[in-house]
């Protein structure tokens, strides 16, 4: 037996036993975070019970009476919830359909920029919106799209002669949500693809070049297939959040005129709970969203085997 195999053997054997001297301090380091998660995540699961109770904010939740599935009946019986659910799915599918390919395309274009300095400058500028809050981005949107005073609204009026009011137009508002989302996230989204692009073997391009492939063919036959695993991973992660259309964005941009096309589960929960005091029904909606989200994540995980390979 060589020293190397003996060492490996030793290491393998030590993995089965709790090594007090080595493992205890490490667990000591993990423990504070576990206590935090226990207190602020797991303990909050206890509050889910009010979805099945008749809860009043003035009372202790343990003292309220059980009502079975009455809150869910109330939730699903409300025609508004159907609208809310449909809005959520439509807005998030639109965001995926347009917002998902956008960073891939931008990353491919950035990859063609040969001047490192210019590329870096572009990246710096494009990442920046990611670090602005939705309240700030919302104020930019107001600035440009507000009906009378907005810069783009005025421009549109001076060109076409007819006023435009996208912020209050039920047809246009969802597109406003989609494109402001893209504006904020497209640059940041390129990071992971830029990383994958930098990992592609340059020999492949050279071979393709010798075989007479032009740049477009190289992108189609080399770059895209090499990016495929990353693209699929990102898509799966994105599908998992299908019922999260984004509270901050919608809450900031929303107004009464577009309420019916833009109210999503997150904003609905906030409204019926904190404005109308129906905490139990709000929690029922919350729970519904969490369960559907979990189903999507687990299904996506099954399809890709993602968590086995990358996260765990």
């Amino acid at each position: 037996m060589t020293t190397e195999t003996r060492r490996r053997d030793l290491r393998r054997r030590s993995r089965f036993k709790f090594n007090w001297k080595r493992d205890l301090p490490l667990w000591g380091l993990i423990l504070p975070a576990m206590i935090y998660v226990l207190l602020f995540r797991y303990k909050s699961f206890l509050g889910i019970q009010i979805a099945f109770k008749n809860y009043r904010i003035t009372k202790n939740m343990w003292d309220c009476a059980w009502v079975g599935l009455k809150n869910f009946d109330k939730l699903f019986g409300n025609p508004m919830f159907t609208t809310v659910l449909r809005n959520t799915v439509i807005i998030s599918l639109l965001k995926i359909a347009i917002g998902f390919p956008a960073p891939i395309i931008v990353a491919l274009m950035l990859n063609e920029v040969r001047s490192t300095r210019y590329k870096r400058a572009l990246q710096t500028v494009m990442y920046l919106p990611h670090f602005l809050s939705w309240v700030v981005v919302g104020s930019l949107v107001f600035m440009f799209f507000a009906p009378e005073s907005g810069v783009l609204s005025q421009l549109w009026k001076s060109i076409t002669g007819s006023p435009i009011n996208i912020m209050m137009d039920p047809k246009g508002f969802r597109w406003l949500l989609v494109f402001s989302d893209i504006w904020k996230g497209v640059g940041w989204g390129t990071i992971v693809y830029m990383a994958a692009l930098s990992g592609i073997d340059a020999d492949l391009y050279e071979a393709a070049h010798i075989d007479g492939a032009n740049r477009l063919q190289q992108v189609w036959y080399i770059t895209l297939p090499c990016l495929m695993p990353t693209i699929m991973t990102m898509l799966v992660l994105r599908m998992g959040g299908i019922l999260n259309a984004g509270f901050d964005q919608i809450f900031v941009l929303q107004n009464d005129l577009v309420y019916r096309v833009s109210e999503v589960i997150d904003t609905y929960v906030y409204r019926i709970s904190f404005s109308q005091g129906q905490y139990s029904v709000g929690t029922a909606a919350d729970l519904f969203q969490s369960v559907i989200g979990l189903i999507f994540v687990v299904a996506a995980n099954k399809i890709s085997g993602l968590f086995d390979q990358e996260v765990l």
């Binding site: 709790f18 975070a33 998660v37 931008v106 602005l132 005073s149 765990l312």
Partner: protein, 303 residues
């Protein structure tokens, strides 16, 4: 010298030809346009905040401030509440980042060294990420600790992110084991190894995660809305939203308008508030940017 001889080294260096084709020119134009679309709104905000409100409405403004002046900033900075609100936000960010970095670094390092049974901890952290109780249960939980309307609720509601922890764990795991084993053979304890060996080698990852937490706390809106909606506890984002929607009410509470013609509803004042609220992010971001590309790449891609 023939044409082929001059071309060849270039082709070899890039693996492709490097001439400016029509397509590439088009890409440059598109990307430059995109960069402009990203930057212009922020520049515009800055210009509006330095403009004269009345003159701007008359002439319109495209690229430079109209009748440059600092009135809007004078007005905003004289708001009695602003200092308090800035202080609140700073408090939440500073304590939030300190606490979350302490929790995250320790947990990430512990996990990266894979003690016996570490998988249990991994799942323990992962489950709340996949399934959350929702807004109201979290709110009730915060209430059960008596933290509502205290800034600590904002510090505590986001003090640990499993996602950030896993990125940092992957970053730590990319450090060769032999370095840490060597240190431990020399007699260094777990903490010493972490502080003396691992942390200095992971500054890129740590700076990245600290930036993520910091920006998260600074931009926190929803949590602030539900946990801390009393005026004394307002943070910047909540204040900003109030300023933006207030059309007539004087939300800044400075009583009689000190500067003639200045109102909270005036565009210049609103944009001055926007700018004041993004200044810290704009200041920190360029310094950490060079780290986070590297940090995110190692943490997220190498897995």
């Amino acid at each position: 010298m023939t044409a082929a001889a001059t071309k060849k080294p270039k082709a070899k260096r890039y693996g492709v030809t490097n001439r400016m084709s029509v397509g590439r020119v088009l890409i440059y134009i598109l990307l430059t346009a995109l960069g402009f679309v990203m930057l212009y709104p922020m520049w515009y905000v800055l210009c509006v905040s330095f403009s004269n409100n009345v003159a701007m409405a008359g002439k319109g403004m495209i690229f430079w401030p109209v009748e440059f002046n600092l009135d809007a900033y004078m007005y905003v900075l004289s708001t009695p509440d602003l200092l308090n609100i800035y202080g609140n936000t700073l408090f939440v960010m500073v304590f939030g980042v300190l606490l979350s970095m302490a929790l995250t670094i320790c947990a990430a390092y512990g996990l990266s060294r894979k003690p016996k049974g570490y998988k249990f901890a991994t799942y323990f952290f992962l489950i709340p990420m996949l399934f959350s109780g929702g807004t109201i249960p979290a709110y009730l939980n915060m209430r059960s600790f008596g933290l509502l309307n205290s800034l600590w609720s904002l510090v505590l509601c986001a003090a640990f992110s499993t996602y950030n922890c896993f990125i940092l764990r992957n970053f730590f795991a990319s450090i060769p084991d032999s370095l840490m084993e060597a240190a431990e053979i020399e007699g260094a304890g777990t903490i010493t190894t972490l502080v003396r060996i691992v942390l200095p080698l992971s500054m890129a990852g740590i700076a990245t995660i600290a930036l993520f937490y910091g920006v998260g706390y600074w931009n926190m809106y929803f949590s602030a809305l539900i946990y801390c909606n009393k005026r004394v506890n307002w943070v910047l984002q909540v204040f900003l939203k109030e300023v933006l929607i207030s059309s007539s009410a004087d939300i800044m509470g400075s009583g009689a308008d000190s500067t003639a013609g200045m109102k909270t509803s005036s565009r210049t004042v609103q944009m001055a508030v926007v700018f004041v609220s993004v200044v810290p992010v704009l200041c920190i971001y360029p310094f950490i940017q060079r780290y986070f590309v590297k940090g995110v790449m190692v943490g997220a891609v190498k897995g």
